[in-house]
Amino acid sequence: MSLAAAAPTDRGHDGATGGVPLVAFRAVTKRFPGVVANDHVSFVLHPGEVHVLLGENGAGKSTLIGMLAGMQTPDDGVIEVAGEAKQIASPRHSLDLGIGTVFQHGMLVPGLSVAENLLLGGAWWRRPRRAALRSRFRETCAAFGIAIDPDVPAGSLSLGEQQQVEIIRALWRGGRVVVLDEPTSMLTPQGIEELGGLMRRMAAQGIGVVFITHKLHEALEYGDRITVLRLGRVVGEIPPEALRQLSRAAATERVIGMMFGHAALHEATASRPTRSLDGTPVLQVQGIATGPGAPRPALHDISFAVRAGEIFGIAGIDGNGQKQLAEVLAGQLPGSGSVLLDGRSLAGLDVGARHRAGLRYVTDDRLGEGTVGSFPVSINLLLKQVGRPPYWRGGLAQGGAITAQAKRLVRAFDVRTPSIETPVGRLSGGNIQKVVLARELEGGARAVIYNKPTYGLDVRNIEAARARIRAAAAQGVATILISTELDEVLEMADRIGVMVGGRMVGIVPAGAEARGAVGRLMTGSPHGH
């Protein structure tokens, strides 16, 4: 915690840029039941600057934006807009103060045209002036180097283009501040580059941009000033003059140090020891395919086997049938072909029976299907054993057994929760994933399918999840690791299968050659094998 102590938390001056800042937080505190989301947070946004807010999940970024956008009000401290203390009472008030916020999830009405979407904010008693709007839209587009037709339906635009429209909308009423909440999370690499260019052009015109991200390289690439949040506090800031002088590597090291403490830097690179794996396969998959009713792409003739303790990675670009494969194996999606667990056929067994037999599935959609957000942690830990003894007898819930098991799992899997009765949706992403892992690894797991197990987690929880996966494998669990992050698969897997268009196009052993081989398979080069 020496870093936190050294970090500036409430600075009397506003850096070398001078002038009146567009927005300033002065020791702002925001509490929620049981937690302090923002603890004496101070930060300053100057005109013409891209100010990056960096932090892992749960660092308090979203709360901070919520207060800027007028959705929440601070409990303590002052928010200054253009040098004056303001109570931002509502989203509309925030817009009136010249602060436009672009949220992570699109807010455009897909069926309306771009122009109509921009008209939505206008006063209801006035006739919309479409012609004037169009010409102003073109001017604004030209000013920021955007090419979008105002008359096409918003839904037909790419995600990146929709975001550009939202940025224009944020600036539409003469705003000088744009807040972008994790804008790059849904974009293609090319889209990210375009957005970066747009941010730079906005800054060049004197607009202040707040850019929230948890990706370091984006912060360094496009940011003028970087503020790092951790556990609700500002733990460090790199002002523009310092950032310009630092080399990329030095800046990276400094920011990571602020985010996670310096220890995090080196533990991430430890690679698994090569182990000799022999013995009979635990999970044998033969000729898996899905019918015409299943989600696209359909699976074709997928076969592989996983031995005890082996980690079988499945690499591929997202949406090439990985989820379908996982669901067919788990019994969630009907498919043909044979699945053998310890030599026993799982044909005809449903999800519950496969779970009991020891075939477990850690879904990639933790909140969408993996848990019931409004239900307590305890029930979510037992969701796949509802009705089973000893937790239910004769159909009746056995409160004692449920509580005892939940407490045991919470402890064993280090789930950070106020109590086992807390609705699981209130926990952070990392802790929700621990709940799901606890449920799937508990009690006689023989083979576990992990679908993107570290997706959306911060570095510390990514490491925790990977350690958990390795530990389970070390105890003899046959492991299937589906990931779209090639580095994760390369680091963890013993063998790597590559999926393209619903087919397993090749399986390569781990090792120095693996990266190239997997890459060739993914791009469809014939020399994959």
Binding site: K30, R31, F32, P33, G34, V35, V36, A37, D39, N57, G58, A59, G60, K61, S62, T63, G66, A69, M71, Q72, T73, F103, L231, G232, G331, Q332, D350, V351, G352, R354, H355, T363, D365, G368, E369, G370, T371, V372, G373, S374, F375, I379, L383, K384, V386, G387, W392, G395, L396, A397, R416, T417, P418, G425, R426, L427, S428, G429, G430, N431
Partner: protein
Amino acid sequence: MGIERGVTDPGLVLAEEPAVPPPAARVSGAPLRPLLTTLLPIVAALLVSGAILYSVGVDPLAYYAVVVRRALLSPHGLEETITRMAPLLLLGASLIVSFRAGLWNLGVDGQFLLGAVAAAALGPALITVAPDWLTLLACMAAGMLAAALWSLLPGLLRAYEGVNEIITTLMMNFLGVSLCNVLVKLVFIDPTTTTPITRTLPVPDRLPRLFGTTVNIGVIIALAVLIGAHLVMTRTAWGLRLRVLGANPRAARHAGFRVERLIVATIAISAALAGLAGAVIVTGTLGSVRAEWNPAYGLTIIPLVFLARMNGWAVIGFVFLFAMLSIGAEAASITLGVPHYYNFLLVGLLLIFLALVEYLDTRRRQHVG
């Protein structure tokens, strides 16, 4: 969105600071708050409705006095109030089951009538050859079965084709009401009368009465079923599966519940309970079903179930209140000239104030937090 995220995100803060005390508001207001949020809307609704009565020249105190005296304080009125509760409680149980599973069975009136007609068709015929208890049980079973079968079509359509059950159950509701008329007029009509009505279950053969009053054991059956339904929903594995289905259908599928079967069974059970309500009212008080009879209890009870937040115990309280208001309102319409449907206005006001108080309460909690 932002508010939820705000609560969700800071989990890590918690991890580092286990000594964070629980929020004061939840500790101090814990036992009082639900009582307050239930009582406040009732008081507000009574006040505003009183103002409305006053504005049309009726003394509100006199109105409330008539209602209370007639429906609560006179022995006969109290008996009527309690008797009226029976079908409403059963319909409440029916709606709790389906609403908690996130399935909106809005066809309860048709299912209720079908249950009533089935009981009225079977009862008078069976009583001539079978003992009373068997006849009454058979009537209730027939009522439940008829309603459950009627709900199979919307249930199957919802489970296997994803057709919205709100629309199909509502459509089946209209069809069911019409079918009941047709059945009474063409099939089960009593040939000895000129009015279209089924044959009548003789008074001595109906549900036994309680302690020499006019109240029959239908209300006991209804209370038992409602409390049973509440316990099933909260204490059993089956109830938990239904609640998971209601809270997150995708999680139900992921967890391996047989979602299709669950949906069909839930809608069928909900319908069976509505049918039971019809059978109880026929075997308990009416004895027969007249064509065109449709008290629309189902549509009346829906707001009450929402008021009770789908909690069985609270439904009992609200049903009692409503039964009292409607029995009393009938008396007040005679003595004070206030239309007897004035009690719906009261229920409407109650709903509005409940929503308001709920909204303010949520806001306050966020600000206190």
